[in-house]
Symmetry: C2
Subunit: 451 residues, 2 copies
């Protein structure tokens, strides 16, 4: 019996097709996707010029859902129609139409595939296994974006505090916040850290974080450190009348993170920090969604470059440092400042801020915290680019300030106040010796940036 050939009426088995080599039922228009039932993945794919891209896209959508390299008996038309990935867009870049340039070595495509999320449910590990699991080893293929339906996102609680919650905790309605990383990074006892903590907090640090390299080592154990730092926080509060959040690094094996978090909170911690990419994004989620965790969580970026740095492979920085940690419940995400010590494209830095702060269903907005080589003279540029809903992540420019960490923190606050009042930094520096000293040491950023 000859099957009907209209795509609406019939399912064509790829390898059984007598009439066409394509299973046209899996290539559909974006208009025909039930958007609530699918997560849409956007890929960059590069192939040799002779590769049939329809066939290639088909292989990906099937490989990551119902099929494998050879047909199997139970992969029925019905199974495929319901559970297979659907290809909803193939765009060649450049968009050649009638010929390929002579000597062309490769062809590039942006491809959109819709995956039925009933296959993996509202969880991050199986989501990643579906959209960038086995196919991550298919060579030149990079996951650029994921577009989540409302029903999927409703399976996640997201940030408990977010921008508004942290602003409320600290009673800072509008200005950018000042974060400090204790420096040196590791190798010191709690007493030394507490002394530095006090200096920075008293100087005006809003948030003080552990370095990502210090969690619970024998020479600086977590509970003792939390107690001593929080005691320093109280002393600084009495002096300046402002609270400081201490984000304790609780990074550990997945089965210990929650216990570490509770020990830290029991010891008085008012915030937490997790190296969420080495611990696992779903570990961050488990932490953020635990009802006993009632403090904000700072998500630290280390390991991110392993995932995003290739222009042709891996996962985009916008997902790694933006959408995924937001989904998993980070309240703050630390990420590279493009004007400092990390090489990072300014566009990506802006796109990550956008992804953390733009409306995303009911999900709270997340504080972007650019860090790495940020100094006092970079504050106007940073606010010019990101606006005021950001956290300034400063390490060396506080602890290495010519007159010490207290002056280092104070000079940042002076820079922030100047920007908020619309006063040029040069002018504010004339009135504030701490800021003057910082600006003389590190200059003012942005004069060579096209903003």
């Amino acid at each position: 019996m000859i099957p009907e050939s209209t795509p609406e009426s019939v399912y064509w088995r790829y390898t059984e097709i007598q009439r066409s080599i394509y299973d046209w039922t899996l290539f559909i228009m974006p208009e025909s996707i039930n958007t609530e039932e699918h997560v849409i993945a956007t890929y960059l794919i590069e192939t040799k010029p002779e590769v049939d891209i329809l066939n290639w896209a088909f292989s990906i959508s099937i490989e990551q859902t119902t099929g494998t390299w050879v047909p199997v008996p139970e992969e029925t038309p019905e199974v495929r129609q319901k559970y297979a990935g659907k290809i909803i867009g193939i765009y060649e870049i450049p968009h050649y139409e009638f010929e390929l340039p002579a000597g062309l070595k490769s062809r590039s495509y942006v491809i959109n595939i819709a995956f039925p999320w009933v296959n993996f449910g509202a969880q991050i590990p199986m989501l990643l296994s579906t959209v960038i699991g086995n196919i991550s080893m298919m060579g030149r293929l990079k996951l650029l974006d994921l577009h989540f339906p409302h029903s999927f996102v409703q399976g996640f609680k997201g940030p408990k505090f977010g921008i508004a919650g942290i602003r409320k905790l600290l009673d800072i309605p509008e200005r950018p916040l000042l974060n400090n990383m204790i420096k040196p990074c590791t190798g010191f006892p709690p007493e030394v850290g507490a002394k530095l903590f006090y200096e920075v907090a008293a100087g005006g640090g809003d948030i003080i974080k552990d370095d990502e390299l210090l969690a619970d080592p024998s020479f600086c154990p977590l509970e003792k450190r939390v107690k001593m730092y929080m005691e320093a926080e109280r002393r600084a509060y009495e002096e300046k009348g402002e609270r400081t959040l201490y984000t304790v690094n609780i990074t550990d094996s997945a089965n210990k993170v929650l216990d570490n978090a509770k020990r830290a909170i029991d010891a008085g911690a008012n915030a937490l920090m997790l190296n969420y990419l080495t611990a696992g994004i779903s570990t961050l989620q488990a932490l953020a969604e635990d009802p006993e965790i009632n403090v904000p969580i700072l998500a630290h970026l280390d390991f991110a470059g392993v995932l995003y740095e290739s222009p042709f492979s891996g996962v985009s920085s916008t997902l790694v440092l933006g959408k995924l940690p937001r989904l998993a419940g980070a309240d703050i995400v630390v990420y590279p400042n493009p004007h400092g010590k990390f090489p990072f494209l300014r566009d990506r830095y802006l796109q990550i801020a956008l992804t953390l702060r733009a409306p995303f269903y009911e999900m709270r907005t997340v504080f972007p915290m650019p860090g790495g080589g940020v100094h006092q003279g970079a504050v106007p540029l940073l606010v010019k680019e990101l606006g005021t809903d950001c956290i300034i992540g400063a390490g060396g420019a506080i602890h290495g300030h010519p007159t010490g960490p207290k002056a280092g923190a104070r000079s940042f606050r002076q820079a922030i106040d100047a920007v908020m009042a619309g006063i040029p930094l040069e002018q504010a520096a004339q009135e504030h010796p701490e800021l003057q000293s910082a600006v003389q040491t590190w200059g003012i950023a942005g004069s060579n940036v096209s903003t």
Copy 2:
């Protein structure tokens, strides 16, 4: 007074922003678009490496909606929030993250912008003016795709007949149809055309079309031609027992097309043809949606290359030859066959077939009709690639068949029957002298194609 800085709560005027140079309210996540209220346009954009792409995307979205190169007083925050284009995706290709290669001369992006369709309504001219109007002159910018909401598409009637309707008219439930273009193209009186028409119809042509170069010239006037051709159709029907559609070319100035169509129908025409890109896509729509037009319409591709051929500029062939004529109501779209006389990428040819036939709300499916150098030996390859829901557009291989047009048409039908029966063409040719002759003259296509 200092405005709130969260994107959710405040509208930032681009040129009035004190804190950030970006109007972050216009950069949003695709999840936050009310999809029913927006048409989403996908662009390929190439810029110099130093261009700030956020700024560039912003310029496009504003230029094509509420703004211009300078702020104007009545472009209030409310006007912009409601009527401005929203940037919902920016993907760099390749997706550089931390550095640009040394010596890079340009950067490429795929950008998605959502346009509120209340701005232009359910019509094609204002849609095109919005999505690819003034910005078509912005250099390296190509419109790749448009994603239409259901509510927008409901403003269009689409094809009256489509694949199912034409199959019903001709009583051909499954096999590919055979179309013939009368050759020579122009320069002959109706009597000559009628003779050729009869030959092809009697030989098995399902549809016979005028050439795009012949509409209503003095030497072959429309009404006289229709009458003579339809008389030939009746003679052929009596002989073979199959009907033939004659798609009369009614191309003319916009104000005359409908009149030409009615004259043709009054003279007995059972189908129409329009050079829809020279006449205007909305002229096709006006024709297709007219309640008095009760016959199928064939949309002819000439002029399309002007719009789509650049890899960096213009409008993709998928839109020009696929989605737009489907929206406008074409029942058949003629487009280039990549294995014949037009240079055309095989991928685009497949993508156009997909766009004409895949589910698209309630819109009927449209017959893809690849043409240009199609011969009898190309039928197996064509069906292998497109399946059976296509029309084989044959000109020279019918009229130039060694034993005349009747044998030319008959040999195509023999090739179609062989493919439908799963018989190799070589074998069928041994049984049918007309096919044998064609295959000996033009060969069998596809042995050098990777299918």
